[in-house]
Symmetry: C2
Subunit: 435 residues, 2 copies
């Protein structure tokens, strides 16, 4: 598998925001680049929730990794599942064979954290990948179909009750999209159902929505959500969910077939990394240039890395901006190491945060400049469009957004493959997971 070449081989695990930037920086440099990913595409995670609610096609937020780098001569790609890393021998073990590296970049990102609650993990839906977002879409749509077969309010309600656990950007954006589904689409597409049957709850154990945002932005988001009919439950901790009923500490319960879990993430750490360098949130502890502590040639960047320092005692936030900036710097520093030049430490340039709640409603916290509403919504759309990989994806997402805006009908809502929720307990989440 290894390239026969006089150049050092840089292996990048993961084609997310972080991995992409490393590979880009290494173009036209005296290295061979090999990227591994279990999918053959990059996923634009910020728009996954629109795939889940059916307003965007899955393929318009994904982009072929081979195609993206087809002009880069020193780039190779493999679909591969990494089973482990041998840091002594400088080898990555995968389902397509062992791969030797001179420099390794671990950019494996994060996955949903159920905090060890197996029951919740079994019944609640995560949304961190395109297959997961599609499974969620199919579950939502199938439950609308199920509800339309029932006759009484009591029978219908569990299928039409949505509980979103975790009020970060994912939970907030999904709550807004589901509220729009109820307010504008439900009765038009499902004449058997009424708005009054559908409920959307947004739940968090923190006292505010959009935790890391400014108080002003957070308050505005809550106001937008309640205005659209979302019930926001704060300071509330989930105790259990058995697929039928979610229980909260203090005794409150809600009957629901739809629990969506975005309450936490954890790093995806390959086998072979010592437990000694694992920090809170299952992240790999790295030095100031994102090298794994104790290693000379292995980097961890993006969501899977924790750069703990006096300035950042909890590491950096798990957002695209951090991943992109760490990827760019890691690429540059690998070249510097090869050339024997001094490396540069990472310094995060926080450009601010954006979140959207629905039509004409978004929150912008751009440093000291904070605003909410229509203009923030335009900025949100612009920033997401320019960040999407691929000109055609940009055009297609843009057309979909214009179409959704004008027709107010939220996209196509297709169940391409039926999702068998009842198989979940048996199949140990395999079904809901990646493939």
């Amino acid at each position: 598998m290894a390239q026969k070449s006089k150049f050092p081989q840089v292996v990048i695990i993961g084609g997310g925001f972080a991995g992409l930037e490393v590979a880009k920086q290494l173009a036209d440099q005296p290295v061979d680049v090999l990227m591994l990913d279990k999918h053959n595409y990059h996923t634009f995670q910020p728009l996954l929730y629109q795939v889940a609610t059916g307003s965007l096609e899955s393929e318009s937020i994904a982009f072929s990794l081979r195609k993206n780098f087809s002009g880069q001569k020193n780039f190779r790609f493999r679909i591969a599942e990494v089973s482990g890393i041998d840091l002594e021998e400088n080898i990555v073990k995968t389902d397509v064979g062992d791969i030797a590296y001179d420099y390794l970049v671990i950019a494996t990102g994060s996955t949903t954290n159920f905090f060890g609650n197996k029951e919740i993990e079994q019944y609640a839906m995560p949304m961190k990948s395109i297959p997961e977002a599609l499974n969620l879409r199919y579950l939502i749509l199938q439950n609308l179909e199920e509800a339309s077969l029932k006759t009484t309010k009591e029978e219908k309600e569990p299928y039409l009750t949505f509980v979103l656990v975790g009020a970060g950007p994912t939970g907030v954006e999904l709550a807004g999209a589901l509220a729009e589904l109820r307010n504008h689409i439900l009765e038009r597409d499902y004449p058997e159902l009424g708005k009054e049957h559908m409920k959307v709850y947004l739940v968090d154990f923190l006292p505010k929505v959009l935790g890391p945002f400014s108080d002003e932005g957070s308050a505005a988001a809550k106001k937008f959500l309640t205005g659209m009919g979302v019930e926001v439950l704060l300071n509330v901790k989930v105790e259990s969910y058995d697929g039928e009923e979610i229980k909260f500490e203090g005794g409150k319960t809600i009957k629901t077939r739809n629990v969506i879990w975005s309450a936490g993430v954890m790093g995806v750490v390959p086998d072979g990394i010592s437990k000694d360098v694992i920090e809170r949130g299952n992240r790999i502890s790295v030095d100031s240039i994102n090298r794994i502590k104790g290693s000379e040639n292995v980097f961890a960047i993006g969501d899977v890395a924790a750069m703990i320092s006096d300035e950042t005692p909890k590491g950096h936030p798990g957002v695209a901006q951090v991943a992109i900036q760490q990827g760019m710097l890691a690429g540059k520093n690998i070249i510097r190491l090869i050339k024997g030049e001094p490396t540069e430490p990472f310094k995060y340039n926080d450009k601010g945060s954006l979140a959207t709640i629905g039509r004409n409603k978004a929150i912008a916290d751009l440093g000291k400049i904070k605003f909410q509403g229509f203009f923030a919504w335009l900025i949100w759309m612009f920033v997401h469009l320019v960040s999407l990989l691929g000109f055609r994806n940009k055009v297609i997402v843009f057309i979909n957004w214009i179409g959704n805006y004008l027709a107010n009908n939220g996209g196509s809502r297709l169940i391409i493959r039926r999702f068998k929720r009842e198989e979940l307990p048996k199949k140990d989440r395999q079904l809901a997971k990646a493939d």
Copy 2:
């Protein structure tokens, strides 16, 4: 489930070209319409091959049935699998309960016919639905990935050899698309592979490609295909395929991991229809207004119907135009029957045939007017665009076609879910079938 209403209930099984037209004709008429389909969308089958080769997203050739009829007050929809029909009791049995009808329209279409060869059915890929087209795409792309891991020509070739059995429009269009993949994309996306490793065979037991077309059109199609590097094997019958090697009568064999079967179709007939009214190709024998022979209130239309007469001794061809025209007439005749007016017999208005082979290459047989090449290709695109359901689908497909034409890169080629071919023999085709 049955509507409480004073109007007769018309149940339509299937939301394909035929079923759609029936429902449309019944708008604003004194009937209640209930459509059943196992998917919640209409599939535009003529473009399935572009989904299979990754140039179109699956959702841009599908359209939500609920959304399509959301403005039609007397229309209801159910996702349902029909298990049988009780013609005595006027009941359709489904996985969501028994459904009573006053008039029934069977518009269940056709599925791939493997002519009883279980081994071929197990290993060859069909392409009659969106899930099947996606499975085929994933298989093709995964085999390109597999080939890129192999080192010798002998190891690579079975993964890069494509045998299309059946040289009707589906086989011809797929052969053209695969030839373009080889000629323009393969080496760009897969630097490990060379054009010389990839082979596309188009096989038919008839002496010509595009059997029902004019000799002129058929000859032009063959010339286009061979010019693009497709090996066209005519007068050849497949004997067996074990997943590794396809054998033809006479002894010729080809080592291939990709056999795509479009050599025949057969009607999808629900249980409860007497064997006495089943014609060749598993189609239901109907009278001149598409009623099942011997029934007063049950119609069969489109691919599942065989209207045998002196004029049409084999019934009508299984094409969209027949389905659309029979659907329109069935809708009108149901109203006439209800009103006690005389019905009108079906008369097929053949508007001609179109098939495309690739960029600037198509065949048009429009009655006495026959032409091939660039202008036929423009007509092909125009006809397919206007026939697609949904304004947004038209725009998105159009943009994709322009993009593919300008960049000559054939779309996005994503493997959203991995397809486990090795599970095929064990899973009895469940995996490759609908879900």
